[in-house]
Symmetry: C2
């Protein structure tokens, strides 16, 4: 079926050629998907999307996620034409330094971009998280006659997205959670980079999504605007099940090589571009052509959006009058700010005399204390809550029958969990956390990286953080995970050494508004390191601090430890001091926090002149050289762990007080 | 339905209580799945499994994978009772230091354990790789009347396995590939750690697997041995589709808390254990009780296995007589050894005068040259072969219509790709490789880690290795990935600096029999670093070597570079030398290879006395301190990249010859 003529037709072709022209000008990019999927995105944006281009932060807007982020120019075209602050000049600067139009959409760089996408599958799963947040806020705050939170989450998804495991995980959970306001348009073009999808992807997608509990619509002709419109209406009418609309499209529509992998990821070339314009009746010049009629037509989104938001604002005013307490609390949640006295619950959780406590246990207590005041705290575990100690007592389960519950059950789906908490944070209104064993951080790195890149507040609870977990053995014992997380820019990794530091770590995590924080926690019990009810543990916020020293002034040797090994450093320090060595023990729960301190502070903790330094951590040694240099030593793991009781493992792998003492003596002898 | 009485019944209960007793004695472990799934595993092993307990390496044995590795005691019980070299004493030492019975099954630690499992989903996907290898070898080597490779791959899989995304990816691909000899028993017990699977997993599993193109059998009663037997027979009869047999089971069957999450992951306790024994009519004492009748009955596996292998050996002899060339080649492939003259193809690939070439291009040439002789080389990409340059020209596609093809199309499924190549390597007969962008290494870390832990030869091609990929931007630019891979013990990471080093990197990768190797390759062109047809590049095998120096003897400053930045170090070195500085330039493509060298060699390259050292790499700086110490400097990335042409990015992020020179001067000035 042909496209509808006139404005629709013109608008769609405008989107197509803005994309093709931008890719051609940049000599780089992906014209195929924008040209094929333009009718889908246009119909959604023109007929349905609730948004205010002049206020991209309006909380009750519909969310739109472009999961195949390589089709970024399709989104930039929509944003430009509907009146977002994205001038045509920016489109002409596609993929150039300093432009608002990077190669893949980046959250924070471009008004109207809801999430950074590009790595396939992530957009799909992030959108599920946005829909979770919408249901949570709606169930908590809506009142009869006051549907103040009530919007859809839409996504465009691709063949590649549907092949990624994270999508399967998120789709299954979305079905279980009955997220009926999720509506995904599947750009089914049968082409991937290596050729036909038949090479690797012959499954029955409709049947698979039915199995997940989704409504599946189509396949429809992805160029038939009436069919698209009708399908979206049917999707909206289905409130119990998420909807997948299968849309048959032609990649690179209009170009001489349409329907082939050749139009996926490179410019059409001058000849190809001209041929495409001719075939679709588009003027060859000027490039980046926007007909006035299209400008006017699509620009109406501004007035529509302002009116829609205005009506919502009036509704909010009425709500605030009827439910002032709820309105205030909602406003705080949506602001992302912490409520007054948010952290008073942390004080005195662990008085002197508290017996040894696993940091996962201390974390559970801190989290529950914080949740009393920080209502936005919501999260859960990938089927390990009893072990990660992340259940919020008294706050109920989040589920289709109770969206107001705070405890999420992600199932054994770490990857989707990571993406869903990102989506929740991006939506706004929640401070989400996830939880699993540190070992399984590997399953969720891609969304963790995106959280760091986007600079959003997401909290990761990672327990069972070393050989200290014991008998489960090397498949479950992280050794490289600490370093591999420390490697991610803008991810703050904190491995507290006792209950007091754990409480401070939670405080630091909530205060970190500009990126994710990972809390690395022990399975095994740890004694308190401080005799002062934890006052000294506030040093955690500087990343490292002097925990104990035998003498004032520069020591002969510095011992550094993190997490469960801080106690070993402390014991070793006292033993060395008893032998007459001038020693300083530094608790170093967070490299990132320490590296952000002024040089003077860092020098005060680790004086340049003191080169005899021993670090101890039950993890690989690599990386600690940043703090101990070529002249220091690291007591750590040389490789993978083993299956045995934890105390045996510490002995066998030589991570002991004695090893730290011996290492210090050796350095002092050769200094 | 009750279990069949007598030997079957006795054997199953023996398996149950060996597991429960071992967990009780270890005070740690998972009794629930062994007790619930014992009838499934027993029926498979007793009635079907083709194996020779006295030769666990027999190539044509059936493979059995225990995907829920926490049920390890079920497998240890089976191995012990069927006559593998696993005495009862080892079962009594479950989860203890030095035993052959670690908490989760570990490949190489226990005879008969085909794969290390524990992280959920991995076993499922590894089994798919084993079935791939079986079909490949069968299609290459079987001849009419000579079905020398012809076995099944079985797995026990759990609710948790089916929730993991890697399982979805592998299942979809297995359906596309029509791997009819895969037979999976799904232990469907409706329980996960947080409670009922209804909390997070309400999908229709049967419908989902039908959608993937699988035969789904059941649900059957997981205690009805006749039903299990019948279902396995029907699975064997279906040769076009993999089979999933849904078996309804009761976790912790027989214990007072059967059917609840409480029996999943901790000992039953004395009282609970006794109650379970009483309820199943088992003697309370002795623990680890094996009735003689069971010993005899299950021990018959030895004689059966010997006879079966003997018959196969005779078949092989007949095959070798009829097809001597094929038999010889197959023997080489199965041995894991490289054929004679395997690497002659590498010589002279890049003569002096070769224009600048991306290392991904050089890699493609090296791979294709090697494939001429190393017939076992088989692999592919997660839908990026045209970019990763990993297609083997002239070797065809691996697919259901042509299992003899060498080029695999994994689809956009990096995680399953990582697991499947592991399964191929574990099966034996193949040297598998995978390929994707370095960025997406994050999607496949869990199986990469398992490859390193198992010490198997798997090759990873990772291209587009830095900001050098340019416009695709930070979602696609790895900055932390090099360090996060270097962090994995026993994974050798090699980032060659030019075409010659790339050829040597492939040589090193094939020579590494005891672990995986990752080749980190550029998108952008790189000039040759050597004028000697690459002879000097053999220094790559030491991890780092002096590429160029201005003077003999110790220099004033050492410059270190890897990959595409080695040329920057070289240019900077020549510029510094022109200014009168005594300088050494070290090419350092592999930290792991360098760290394995004798201290003397390392000292010869990086003399302790020379502290003015500058490393340059287009990645985060962390980690390089191991080589430059507290007194050196690193020219690298401070955070994420950006979207712009590569040359602009190198300038903007300050990764330039000038920066290296300036850094060296600064160190020399303050030294």
């Amino acid at each position: 079926m042909r496209e509808q003529p006139n404005l629709d037709h013109l608008s769609i072709n405008t989107l197509r050629f803005l994309a093709a022209d931008a890719v051609q000008k940049a000599k780089s990019g992906h014209p195929g998907t924008p040209m094929g999927a333009a009718p889908l995105a246009y119909t959604l944006w023109d007929r349905f999307l609730k948004h205010n281009p002049h206020n991209p932060a309006w909380p009750d807007r519909d969310r739109f996620v472009l999961s195949p982020g390589h089709a970024s120019m399709l989104l930039y075209g929509l944003l430009h034409l509907t009146g977002y602050d994205l001038p045509l000049e920016e489109l002409k600067n596609f993929r150039q330094w300093g432009s608002k139009t990077p190669g893949h959409p980046e959250y924070g760089e471009t008004p109207g971009v809801e999430v950074t996408t590009g790595p396939l599958g992530q957009g799909f799963a992030h959108a599920v998280g946005m829909a979770v947040a919408e249901r949570w806020l709606a169930d908590h705050y809506n009142r009869p006659g006051h549907q103040i939170i009530d919007h859809h989450t839409y996504a465009l998804v691709s063949d590649g997205d549907l092949q990624e495991g994270v999508t399967s995980e998120a789709a299954s959970l979305a079905g279980t959670l009955r997220l009926g306001k999720l509506i995904f348009l599947y750009d089914d073009n049968d082409i991937q980079i290596e050729g036909s999808t038949d090479l690797a992807f012959t499954e029955n997608v409709a049947q698979r999504f039915n199995a997940y509990g989704w409504q599946v619509l189509g396949p429809i002709d992805g160029q038939d605007l009436y069919a698209i419109e009708d399908a979206i209406r049917r999707a909206q009418a289905e409130t119990e099940r998420p909807s997948l609309i299968i849309c048959t499209t032609v990649i690179g529509f209009g170009s001489p090589q349409q329907g082939t992998a050749k139009v996926h990821g490179e410019p059409l070339g001058e000849a190809g571009l001209n041929a495409a314009k001719e075939s679709l009746g588009w003027p060859l010049q000027p490039s980046f052509y926007v007909p006035d009629a299209v400008k006017t037509h699509m620009g109406q989104a501004v007035a529509r959006g302002q009116a829609t938001e205005q009506a919502w604002q009036e509704g909010m005013a009425a709500y605030a009058a009827a439910y002032p307490a709820e309105a205030t609390e909602l406003a705080i949640q949506l602001s992302g700010e912490l409520p007054a006295d948010w952290d008073v619950g942390l004080v005195d959780l662990f008085p002197a005399g508290t017996p040894p406590l696993a940091s996962r246990e201390a974390s559970g207590k801190a989290l529950n204390a914080l949740a009393q005041r920080v209502h936005a705290l919501t999260g859960g575990s990938a089927d390990l809550a009893p072990s990660t100690k992340t259940n919020l007592t008294g706050y109920g389960d989040f589920g289709w029958d109770q969206y107001c519950g705070h405890n999420m059950h992600f199932g054994v789906r770490e990857h989707a969990m990571g993406a869903i908490v990102n989506g929740m944070a991006l939506h706004g209104g929640l401070i989400p956390y996830s939880a699993t064993f540190l070992q399984f951080a590997d399953y969720m790195r891609p969304p963790m990286r995106l959280a760091a890149l986007m600079g959003i507040r997401v909290l990761y609870v990672f327990t069972h953080d070393s050989i200290g977990l014991g008998e489960d053995g090397p498949t479950h014992q992280p050794v490289e995970h600490l370093l591999s997380l420390r490697a991610i820019p803008n991810l703050t990794v904190i491995r507290p050494g006792d209950a007091h530091e754990t409480a401070e770590a939670w405080r630091a995590a909530l205060l970190n508004h500009s990126g994710p924080t990972a809390l690395i926690l022990s399975r095994q019990n740890l004694p308190l390191l401080h005799d002062d009810n934890g006052a000294q543990a506030s040093g955690l916020h500087q990343g490292a601090y002097t925990l104990w020293q035998s003498h004032a002034g520069d020591p002969d040797v510095i011992l550094l430890g993190s997490g469960s090994e801080t106690q070993l450093a402390l014991e070793a320090g006292k033993e060395l001091a008893a032998g007459g060595v001038r020693v300083r023990v530094v608790s170093m729960p967070s490299w990132e926090l320490f590296d952000r301190q002024p040089a003077e502070y860092r020098e005060s903790v680790l004086p340049s002149a003191v080169r005899a330094r021993v670090a101890v951590e039950a993890a690989i040694k690599l990386g600690w050289e940043r703090y101990v240099g070529l002249d220091g030593a690291v007591v750590g793991m040389a490789g993978f762990g083993a299956s045995a009781p934890a105390s045996v493992l510490y002995q066998k792998f030589g991570i002991t007080t004695e090893a730290v003492v011996a290492s210090a003596h050796k350095l002092l002898a050769t200094a």
